[in-house]
């Protein structure tokens, strides 16, 4: 049996997740050892071969995206969403449902003819075998999941809040000591508490964790003096749409 063929594809996105893969540094060579990379958007010309396992970043925002994704699904054994846009629609799925007028505002001549739909996560269109959230994804987390996926096993992922990772890192709590509206208590771990470790509050890009007590955190934010609008914006950025 040869090496499994893997493809990395982009739908509508900032390419941040594929860039994280190209940012693997030396470890990317290991990735090329491990799998036959048949497609890696941005980084290499496509081989034109069909993959066994597809990693897809970005949200579905056009009929073209939708058809591409459906066709890809038919070819592969496993389809893995990478990055929050693929998992929930991400930041591009914020804002109003109807965006037609944006197009005609920006492109008065041709805009109306553009093929766009409201940004949707992959799971709204096809069956997704596994989702790797993150805006962008965490290299370590991706490699961790890859180890399991290539063996055909569902990855072990931490089923707890970012706070637990944050504390394992020994960080000072931003919410407690700096009155910062950190979303760590309701957000799924996996990033190694990247933002709190750098002194910035968690924005929730991994999505709600399983047992998140959103109501209590909202109440705590209110007690901290945040307005209803500020609170809504915090939760709207990533969390509300759910994984």
């Amino acid at each position: 049996m040869g090496k499994p063929k893997a493809g990395f594809y982009s739908l509508t996105s900032c390419s941040g997740d594929i860039l994280e893969i190209t940012n693997l540094g030396e470890d990317i060579l290991k990735l090329f050892d491990l799998v036959e990379v048949v497609h890696l958007n941005v980084a290499m010309p496509s081989t034109g071969k069909d993959p066994d396992i597809a990693f897809v970043e970005g949200a579905v925002t056009s009929m073209e995206d939708e058809e591409f994704l459906k066709a890809l699904r038919k070819k592969v054994k496993q389809l893995v969403g990478i990055g929050t846009c693929a998992c929930t629609g991400g930041v591009i799925a914020r804002g109003p449902e109807d965006r037609r007028n944006w197009l005609t505002d920006v492109y008065p001549e041709s805009g109306a003819g553009f093929d766009i739909t409201f940004p949707r996560p992959l799971k709204d269109i096809v069956t997704v075998d596994f989702s790797i959230p993150g805006c962008p994804i965490e290299k370590k987390y991706l490699l961790h999941c890859l180890g399991y996926l290539l063996k055909g096993v569902l990855p072990e992922v931490p089923a707890y809040s970012v706070c637990m990772e944050c504390k394992m890192k020994g960080n000072e709590c931003l919410l407690r000591y700096r009155s910062s509206a950190c979303l760590g208590p309701v957000t799924k771990a996996g990033c190694g508490a990247r933002q709190p470790s750098l002194g910035r509050p968690c924005d929730g890009c991994f999505g709600f964790y399983d047992d998140a007590n959103k109501e209590s955190l909202i109440e705590i934010f209110r007690e901290m003096g945040l307005s209803e609008d500020e609170i809504k914006k915090r939760f709207d950025l990533f969390l509300e749409r759910g994984l």
């Binding site: 990735l31 961790h144 000591y177 007590n213 209590s216």
Partner: protein
């Protein structure tokens, strides 16, 4: 036990000497009001005034995430570990020393935990006296003094430290800088006695622990568990920062870069939803109030049943850290009502 005094301005010399011989770990300031244990670099960075570090010294003996062993493609097991240097942790207050004593018990129950004891057997402790803040509960938990675990303990007086040397290792450390230590004078002994009185009167927060284990058990069905579980974020911070929380999860993780598979152990928390989930899908603590209550029961009741004392050292970390402001003293007061 032997007593000496050490002039305060000679402490740097003593620590430098210890650092030359062992790997010295000291408390340092982290944020504006937070502290952490780190490897010693220079005396000016050592905090002598800190009350509690964010994470207790348990992280040095029982790390948050550790590899137990790895297995390669040929099924060869590699359980080797870097031979760690003997370390000495400076600045442990009585609560943290009690915390170590409790972990020692937990990791010996039913056999010695090799991974824990591999590190524990290679660490020494220099205790340091402290004055309580508004979260300190050690007096209520009867952990405000310590008579075991440490090798050396320093009581801060005006000009000197009253130094208690308890073990042979402590004696070895003293001998690294002969000439720094003197016999205590009558005045110094008097000052020591005054100091412990003053400290004792400084505790502002008292938790009535009389028959607490019984009460918690009798109040198993109290409504407050439900009430607090609405406030609790189940974030697990309280467990992570607790010097005596000892729970861990074990899982296997393929490492695609190293080309092997590793067995990892990682801190776990009973606040977590699937902590008590077992094969077949049954969850012994499937609801939030059950999970909230369990931490209290385990701290104050469960551990005691096995080891004869509560596993809360009163360090105050959980109350100081909780993002929801949940405070053990208040919970216990409500239970008593």
């Amino acid at each position: 036990m032997l007593f000496f005094t050490l002039k305060k301005d000679r402490l740097p010399e003593f620590l430098d000497a210890v650092d030359k011989r062992y790997k010295l770990i000291v408390p340092e300031q982290k944020g504006e009001k937070t502290y952490t244990f780190r490897q010693y670099t220079e005396f000016s960075k050592v905090s002598l005034e800190f009350i509690r570090t964010i994470i207790p010294p348990k992280k040095l003996i029982f790390p948050p995430v550790e590899k137990l062993f790895s297995v390669d493609k040929e099924c060869r097991i590699d359980a080797s570990h870097e031979d760690e240097q003997f370390s000495v942790i400076f600045g442990l207050h009585p609560c943290d020393l009690h915390g170590i004593e409790i972990l020692d018990k937990a990791f010996s129950y039913g056999g010695r935990d090799t991974s824990y004891w591999r590190r524990r057997d290679k660490v020494g402790f220099i205790g340091l006296s402290c004055l309580p803040d508004k979260y300190c509960l050690c007096k209520s938990m009867h952990t405000d003094f310590i008579e075991s675990v440490y090798d050396i303990f320093l009581y801060t007086l005006d000009d000197v430290y009253m130094v208690s040397v308890r073990t042979a290792l402590g004696d070895d450390m003293l001998r690294l800088s002969p000439g720094l230590f003197n016999k205590p004078t009558k005045e110094e002994i008097l000052e020591y006695k005054e100091r412990i009185q003053i400290r004792d009167s400084m505790f502002t927060r008292i938790m009535d622990t009389t028959n607490l284990a019984d009460l918690l058990t009798l109040e198993y069905k109290n409504d407050i568990w439900e009430e607090y579980s609405k406030r609790c974020l189940f974030c697990g911070s309280c467990v992570m920062v607790c010097p005596t929380c000892q729970c861990f999860d074990v899982y296997d993780s393929p490492d695609v870069i190293a080309g092997n598979s590793c067995r990892i152990r990682r801190w776990d928390a009973c606040m977590r939803k699937d902590y008590a989930l077992v094969t077949g899908g049954h969850n012994f603590r499937g609801t939030r109030p059950e999970r909230f209550r369990f931490r209290y029961l385990h701290k104050e009741t469960g551990f005691g049943e096995m080891h004869g004392k509560a596993s809360c050292t009163g360090c105050g970390r959980c109350s100081e850290t909780c993002p929801a402001g949940i405070d053990m003293v208040e919970v216990v007061r409500r239970i008593r009502e």
